[in-house]
């Protein structure tokens, strides 16, 4: 029962975050870049969380920052899941030599630490936010390919797949109508858990300055507070709000992910959370 409350609570939290991101112009009292006060003001009724080193309203930045942070997480997770589902199904269904080669390549790539690889790779591309999210989506899809492929391997040998061939279905039809719906629960689990993972990673990358530091997201906000004296001066209202916001969404997504996983995968132990 408490597990159910946890799941629904997490879903409510997630909806609130998404709602805030969508309605940012209505909620935020000021623009994300507008200089609306003196630098380093303490919280007051006009500036709920005070102002930063150039006099921008931190509360408004927090609200606006939800957009880019969430968009980044969900976009790269969506891309990651799309790639891993597509390749996982194709490799698992056709098998053979291509599958063999692809699996060996995946075995080589998986042990490479994604975060470090990403930092190296971004130096080769123009480090825009879109580039980084595409790279993250692609890199994190590799593990997903392996998971989905292994599931498809067992589904593709089910008798109803043979049966679908016997009614004259084409390979595409079988993959789309019979295999995809059967791996969908797993795809959902992958989507939720990778969006949590990638969202946090995105905040980390933005903290490290992987893209334009004038972009307003929670990573750059923390970075700003860190480098412009927010920590040194003990201005907790500057650094804590974006940090807590990240922890909140991350926990909510993790809880949803675990609950889904328990529901769809009976082999996952019940004491995982």
């Amino acid at each position: 029962m408490s597990r159910k409350i946890l799941l629904w609570g997490s879903i409510v939290v997630l909806c609130i975050y998404i709602g805030i991101a969508c309605a940012a112009p209505l909620i935020a009292p000021m623009g994300p870049d507008a200089i609306t006060g003196r630098p380093l003001q303490s919280p007051d009724p006009v500036h709920l969380f005070g102002t930063n080193n150039v006099g921008q309203d931190i509360f408004s930045q927090l609200i606006w920052g939800a957009r880019i942070t969430l968009l980044f997480g969900f976009f790269s997770a969506g891309l990651s899941v799309l790639i891993s589902t597509m390749f996982g199904i194709i490799l698992g269904y056709y098998g053979g030599i291509v599958d063999e080669i692809a699996s060996r390549i995946i075995d080589v790539v998986i042990p490479l630490p994604t975060f470090v690889l990403l930092i190296v790779l971004t130096t080769f591309f123009s480090p825009g936010i879109l580039t980084v999210s595409i790279l993250m989506g692609v890199l994190s899809s590799i593990f997903g390919i392996r998971i989905i492929r292994s599931q498809v391997l067992s589904i593709a040998r089910m008798e109803y797949v043979e049966g679908a061939k016997a009614i004259g279905a084409s390979d595409f039809h079988i993959m789309y109508r019979h295999i995809l719906p059967n791996v969908m629960p797993l795809v959902m689990v992958r989507f939720v858990s990778s969006s949590q993972h990638l969202l946090v990673m995105g905040v980390g990358l933005s903290f490290l300055g992987m893209w334009d530091t004038s972009t307003v997201d929670w990573g750059t906000m923390i970075q700003n507070a860190y480098s412009e004296g927010g920590v040194a001066l003990g201005l907790w209202w500057w650094i804590l709000p974006p940090g807590i916001a990240v922890i909140g969404i991350s926990l909510a997504l993790a809880m949803i992910g675990y609950s889904f996983e328990e529901k769809f995968n009976p082999r996952v132990g019940v004491n995982r959370i």
Partner: protein
Amino acid sequence: MELIRIDGLYVAFSTRSETVRAVDTVDLAINEGDTISLIGESGCGKTVTGMAIMGLLPTNARITGTIRYGDQDLLSAPDSTLQRIRGKEIAMISQNSANALNPVMTVGDQIAEPLLIHHLLPAPEARQEAVRLLSALGFDEPERAREQYPHEFSGGMRERILIALALICNPGLIIADEPTSGLDAQVKSQILQLIKKQIDGNRTLFLITHDMGTAHFLCTRTAVMYAGEIVEIGQTHDLLSLPMHPYTQGLLASLPSAGLHPIPGVSPSPAHLPGGCRFCTRCPASMDRCRREHPALIDAKGRQVRCFRYD
């Protein structure tokens, strides 16, 4: 009119160390309106023969021979041709098992699927057709059954759904592979009645079974298969009342009604077949010649039998 003619069908599966001859030189003609059964024990190659007609053998199978269907050879036809034929002209009633139907697709959608794949009807009409067929196959509430998922049905009902799936495009030839396995006696007889009613003179049935009673009930002709080859073929009634090949005789003697006398020994591994007659090691009437020479299928008393005793 001849519908399908199998000539010299040979199917082997190669493993690293040995070659398994699953089907070895099977010739069989199926006429339009025929009801013919292929009887044999597990592993004798009867299912592989059915799969060969459907063109659904695994890619590691080595296949020679021809299966003529109209002006096509099904063994060498391209996939696109086979996809056009499968389900529409030749359909299969698959073995009933928990995984025979897609667990996440409603029964109605699955039954209507062949019609949509072959572009025979637009979706709303296809769904209506599925409902019509469900009610013809004994579903009391076809409108409700259409919306349900396979796990909500019993084994007998699932078998009916599989039959609907095979019948929906009104195919000329139906291949039924052990359609009643895993069903209890009463449900089994209902399903057999149903198949008989649906076949009823205007469809061709190719039944694969190990059960004499099923073959007798549904089929006018029967072929007995042993270790990858046909050993006896004739009218079902004649064959069962007066079996000629020692293996057929053994099969009948092993029935409970005949006193449960099993055939001694086990059937040879298809990887290591004996040189002469394949049944000689278990045959009560084997002669020297049986061990040396491989018998051919010869005509005898209106049927064909693969035994030197009728030479």
